[in-house]
């Protein structure tokens, strides 16, 4: 079972920031958005195609534009190297027929940056195995 903890989220941040294509695709993507893995929530701050910071201290002074919240079980399937049908895409999970991911907030920002957003979420499949993650320092 994947633990979407600080080790994991920092490793994803590195995977996004090390991705050369994301610097091109996401160069106009500047926004704060919320990712919810069950009860564990993070606000991700993207500035010009780079994740500048991620915080798990989410409160009234942590603004975000849009939110993607899903049960841990949904994200576990989404982040598999070869995700199963109906879990390979945020739109697959969010479609009213399936209801496995909730989109909230100012979804216009999401639509405006959808290509960059989906590209960076796809990088979740590049996060290394648990044993490698735990050898890393945590920054969140």
């Amino acid at each position: 079972m994947t633990q979407f903890d600080s080790h994991w989220i920092n490793s994803w941040q590195d995977a996004v920031n090390d991705d050369a294509a994301f610097h091109v695709i996401g160069r106009f993507f500047t926004a704060d958005f919320l990712l919810g893995f069950g009860d564990q929530e993070y606000v991700v701050s993207v500035d010009g195609g780079r994740i500048e910071r991620i915080t798990d201290e989410v409160g009234i002074e942590t603004p975000w534009s849009f939110a993607l919240r899903a049960p841990v079980e949904s994200w576990e399937k989404f982040t598999q190297r070869t995700p199963p049908p109906m879990f390979n895409d945020i739109w697959a999970m969010a479609h009213p027929l399936h209801g496995r991911l909730q989109m909230d907030g100012d979804v216009k920002v999401l639509w405006q940056n959808m290509r960059a957003l989906t590209w960076m979420l796809d990088r979740m499949r590049e996060v290394p195995d648990r044993t490698l993650l735990e050898a890393r320092a945590t920054r969140v």
Binding site: T82, P83, P85, M86, N88, D89, I90, W91, A92, H95, P96, L97, H98, V107, K108, W111, Q112, M114, R115, T118
Partner: protein
């Protein structure tokens, strides 16, 4: 070195419909039974380039893929700039048949994907004597949820948003080069065209009470990929159960755009269907129910 030349040839035909003369682009290859291929919403006939260039298909079929008005190289009707485009089942089904009539096709096979699959059900109901068989890919009786304002909004990049919203409909097993080629097609639709097509796909197309009115006299093949989250295998199977004479085929490791996201995998499922069509076989299951495989 000899350059590779594909056997596909393109042309324009004027299709009279509804008092207007539509200038329609189409591509074709091969000889034999006419096989008219319908593209998905918001894109064009390039989706069928692999099948148009496959000699194992074109040796028995005259494969024809055309661009609906407003799509690809088929220009929109005069006055389009004043309209909120919405494709309807009536226009779509009648226009497909008008195109076939303009080309003087004798009882063609109609094969379409997504909205092109859904319209096959309407053609089955309204134009059965004029078609030989229907291959409805990623089709089902009702496919709600896609008629979204964001797909034609001045604050959103239409090309990137339309293309990215469908990217996840393709299977992760499909080759990257073909998935991104499909994304590219989608990025090139005119403003509001994808959304307008989805009016048919998600609103005007509702066959839930009409499926059992199809006679079953024309073979209908329902083919759906397991990664299609807009029209799931379960939705197609449910539809197939209600259509007499239909056959439901569920395709592994593929999504909503079989012909262009993974032509090799699609071919494994398509060829047996085309064999049956060529043989004139009618796969009639028992009265009132289709079969599944």
């Amino acid at each position: 070195m000899t350059a590779i030349r594909e056997p596909i040839v393109g042309g324009y035909i004027h299709v009279p419909y509804g008092g207007y003369d539509y200038r329609v682009f189409y591509e074709e290859a091969g000889e034999g039974i006419p096989l008219v291929c319908l593209h998905t919403a918001g894109t064009d006939s390039r989706e069928w380039r692999h099948q148009l260039a496959d000699p194992e298909i074109t040796d028995r079929f005259r494969v024809i893929a055309f661009d609906m008005p407003r799509h690809g190289k088929s220009i929109p009707p005069i006055g389009f700039e004043r309209e909120d485009y919405r494709l309807t089942a009536t226009f779509y089904s009648e226009f497909v048949m008008a195109f076939c009539e303009a080309l003087e096709l004798e009882r063609p096979v109609i094969m379409g994907s997504s909205m092109g699959g859904n319209i096959c059900l309407h053609i089955a109901l309204k134009f059965e004597p004029r078609v030989r068989a229907l291959v409805a890919i990623e089709a089902c009786q009702y496919s709600p949820g896609w008629y979204l304002s964001w797909l034609a909004h001045p604050h959103v990049h239409g090309g990137e948003a339309c293309a990215t919203s469908v990217f996840g409909l393709m299977a992760p097993q499909s080759p990257d080069e073909y998935r991104w080629e499909t994304w590219w097609y989608y990025s090139q639709g005119g403003p509001g065209v994808f959304k307008g097509d989805l009016y048919f796909y998600s609103v005007d197309h509702d066959f839930r009470v009409l499926c059992d009115r199809i006679s079953g006299d024309v073979p209908i093949y329902l083919m759906t990929g397991v990664y299609d989250f807009a029209c799931t295998p379960e939705m197609t199977a449910e539809t197939g159960k209600k259509i007499k004479g239909s056959e439901t085929i569920i395709m592994e490791d593929i999504g909503h755009f079989p012909m262009c996201e993974n032509p090799e995998t699609f071919k494994r499922y398509l060829m047996p269907v085309l064999d049956k069509v060529a043989a004139g076989e009618r796969k009639l299951a028992g009265a009132g129910a289709g079969s599944a495989s």
